[in-house]
């Protein structure tokens, strides 16, 4: 039993030990063999080691080089800064287009979708900072500003600040990462024009399995008309208990089917309160897949075909009723030459009759889109998109878009 207690003590002490040591040591390999704490280590020994390490860290502090996630060999203290501008010209065959996204081309004419200023840098050996400010013609919006831990043990990682929750595959992405230039309908309807985000904390762990499997949980504010429509949304509610926050849970798995084929699969849940009365809840469940073929083994590695699809199911408790609706999308991208790609997309969202929380949108809606994009370099993109939008409560209409995107500053790295 004694061994058990020490082991658990170790579990709780190790994270702080890692912090006190500067960069955490790798936990595998021969180096680890020498540093792995023995089971019979006593408390006094740990305390002494901690003190010694703190003193050593203080002594070494001025010369310490913080590890960073930059591939650059140059050392600079200015953060990496980049600016990405998205501009569009739109033409709709209706006077009242119903684009959902806060950064969509929303009316006929020229549109500034957004000018994103992204700032990122390692804070110290323990944290990295990421910030995204989005400028529109009349204001600035703090899209994201969060810190990510860099050296937690046991494959853990935590984030805190304002961030897009990692629900599904589409939610945490920014407009310049999108293959189509407007927001997915289902995200606009279930979460709001900015996708789901909020102030909060997130923890995640990479499971010790032979394949990539990550489990994450976050707790964020359930308020915000732009990003939590299914939860408190624009309602002004005071927080009384932990039940007044939104909780997001997700499992993300990746299967490298071969060098050329990749499959990503995720399941997510976003759970939180809604404003229709104390205790009433909204639950959103989702699953997403991303299947990509890129023939890297045959030296045509600029070519790829990718299929992405998501399905979301929503339950909302309101007085005397349980509302159920769902929606999703699927799109296929064919990057057929080094500079060109084309894609098709279909989206649908169901509606709930007499929806008390969403009276404007209580019938089904389908939208089909096609796009053709030209990438002069990886720092610019010109594209054309056509939408055929079919809200059941009014006549179908067309949308035509021409978009231009430019990116300057630090070279960003692309997530898969």
């Amino acid at each position: 039993m004694l061994k058990w207690s020490f082991h658990w003590l170790g579990v709780f002490l190790l994270p702080s030990l890692a912090f006190a040591q500067g960069a955490a040591e790798p936990v595998t390999g021969p180096a680890a063999a020498a540093t792995t704490p023995a089971a019979d280590v006593d408390l006094e020994e740990i305390r002494r080691a901690l003190e010694a390490d703190v003193q050593a860290a203080e002594k070494d502090a001025p010369t310490f080089t913080p590890p960073t996630a930059q591939a650059s060999g140059r050392r600079m203290f200015n953060p990496e800064i980049s600016v990405i501008g998205d501009f569009a010209f739109a033409w709709f065959t209706t006077d009242e287009p119903r684009q959902t996204g806060g950064h969509d081309p929303a009316e006929t004419g020229f549109n500034l979708q957004g000018l994103e200023l992204s700032i990122r840098q390692s804070v110290d050996p323990y944290f990295r900072f990421d910030g995204n400010l989005v400028f529109s013609l009349f204001g600035v919006e703090l899209e994201e500003a969060y810190a990510t831990t860099l050296s937690l043990p046991y494959n853990l990682q935590a984030r805190f600040g304002q961030f897009l929750t990692r629900f599904g595959r589409y939610n945490p992405t920014h407009p310049h990462q999108w293959s189509f230039l407007d927001q997915m309908l289902v995200y606009g309807k279930f979460f709001g024009p900015e996708n789901n985000r909020g102030l909060g904390v997130e923890g995640s762990v990479l499971l010790p399995l032979p394949w990539y499997a990550e489990v994450l949980a976050s707790m964020t504010d359930a308020e915000g008309a732009e990003s939590t429509r299914s939860f408190y949304g624009s309602a002004d509610v005071t927080v009384d208990s932990p039940a007044d926050f939104q909780y997001t849970l997700a499992v993300k798995q990746f299967f490298p089917l071969s060098d050329d084929w990749s499959l990503n699969w995720g399941v997510s849940a976003a759970l939180g309160p809604n404003p229709t009365g104390r205790g009433n809840r909204s639950d959103i469940y989702g699953t997403d897949i991303y299947l990509k073929w890129r023939p890297i083994t045959t030296a045509a590695d600029w070519m790829y075909v990718a299929l992405q699809a998501e399905y979301l199911y929503r339950l909302r408790q309101v007085p005397q009723r349980l509302l159920r609706d769902h929606g999703g999308y699927a799109y296929l991208i064919w990057h057929f030459s080094k500079r060109w790609e084309t894609g098709v997309r279909h989206e649908w969202v169901s509606g709930v009759e007499d929806d008390p929380l969403d009276p404007e949108w209580n019938e089904a809606r389908h939208r089909t889109s096609g796009q053709l994009s030209f990438f002069p370099t990886e720092f610019s993109r010109l594209r054309a998109q056509i939408n055929y939008d079919r809200p059941r409560w009014e006549d179908p209409y067309w949308g035509f878009f021409l978009g231009a995107e430019i990116s300057v500053g630090a070279h960003g790295a692309h997530a898969f």
Binding site: K3, W4, H7, A23, A24, E25, P26, V27, T28, G29, P30, A31, A32, A33, T36, A38, A39, P66, P67, T68, A69, Q70, A71, S72, G73, R74, P125, R128, T148, L150, S151, L152, N155, Q157, L206, W211, Y212, E214, F254, P256, D259, S262, N264, K292, R294, I296, T297, T298, A299, D301, W302, K338, T377, E378, F379, H411, A413, H414, A415, F416
Partner: protein, 304 residues
């Protein structure tokens, strides 16, 4: 119960001892081959990319982050070669040892003299340039040797038990390379001053090592695909110099190069982009393959 606890403790705490080999991940296969030459049977080596992939544009597939999660060492080309994909993997790996600046992170560009370092103002109107210098330095085998030295030194530091072995392997590798370099240089004596074209400025180190004369690039600027006007100008300007060869990695599109080669009289050489590490090819075998292809265009008999 006691047995269960003992087993659990062994699994949880003893995992490090069970896996007493260095687990090394490299960004490109050339570095993996160099690491294998130095580490021998006592290290596990894996490359994040294949030789058929353009190392500028590798997908940050999550299984690669998993490889980095378990890695003791990450060895990269540096010079911003991997800037578009590696940082995502490093962050996703949850392993502070392999973050840039970590004890297991080795940037080989710090151990060679980089050419074409930017002086003065730099922006992307000059193309997708690497301000710190041209990162395709492994095309000169002298730099391969320099990297192998840096790798051996790092491995010895991280695994002192096998340090002597790594140094012995390094000495053997260097001796072998010295002999081979002398052979390659002898074979290339007659190539000195031969005018050549390249697709991307990725052959600079090879060209300077062998004393070839670069007279034009198919890409108007690094990373920018050729326009018809540029191709016409390139042909007009270089045809008279009678370029002997057009050097290009197999992962770049060949249509334009074929036309340029045909119009200028150059031989289009489709060269492997890197060591076929996944097929157990070694780094000297890769240089050999490149040299033998070059021989097809520039002639063998002169040097032999």
């Amino acid at each position: 119960m006691i047995r269960f606890v003992a087993t659990l403790l062994f699994v949880l705490l003893g995992a490090g001892t069970a896996q007493a080999r260095l687990n090394i991940v490299t960004s490109v296969p050339d570095l993996a081959a160099l690491t294998k030459a130095v580490g021998g049977a006592d290290v596990d080596v894996r490359s994040l990319s294949l030789s058929t992939q353009d190392p500028h544009f590798v997908d940050a597939r999550p299984n690669l982050a998993l490889a980095l999660n378990k890695a003791d060492v990450l060895i990269v080309l540096g010079g911003e070669m991997e800037v578009g994909w590696l940082p995502v993997l490093q962050r996703g790996a949850r392993n502070s040892a392999i973050l840039s600046g970590g004890r297991g992170y080795l940037d080989c560009s710090n151990h060679v003299a980089l050419k074409e370092q930017a002086t003065g103002a730099v922006d992307r109107s000059q193309g997708d340039i690497h301000p710190g210098g041209n990162p395709h330095y492994l095309r000169d085998p002298h730099n391969g040797v320099a990297c192998a030295e840096a790798i051996a030194e790092r491995l010895a530091k991280l695994d002192p038990e096998h340090a002597a072995l790594f140094r012995t392997n390094l000495d053997a590798f260097k001796a072998d390379m010295q002999k081979r370099i002398a052979g390659w240089e002898k074979a290339a004596v007659g190539w000195k001053g031969s005018p050549v074209l390249v697709y991307h400025k990725s052959w600079t180190y090879l060209i300077e090592w062998l004393g070839l004369r670069p007279i034009g690039t198919v890409e108007p600027r690094p990373g920018i695909p050729p326009s018809p006007a540029h191709v016409a100008r390139l042909i007009a300007e270089t045809a008279a110099s009678k370029p002997r060869a057009l050097l290009q990695e197999e992962y770049y599109p060949a249509g334009t190069s074929r036309l340029v080669a045909e119009k200028t009289g150059a031989t289009l050489l489709h060269l492997p982009g890197g060591t076929r590490f996944e097929k157990q090819q070694t780094y000297p075998e890769y240089v050999d393959a490149v040299m033998s292809k070059l021989g097809e265009a520039l002639g063998r008999e002169e040097g032999e």
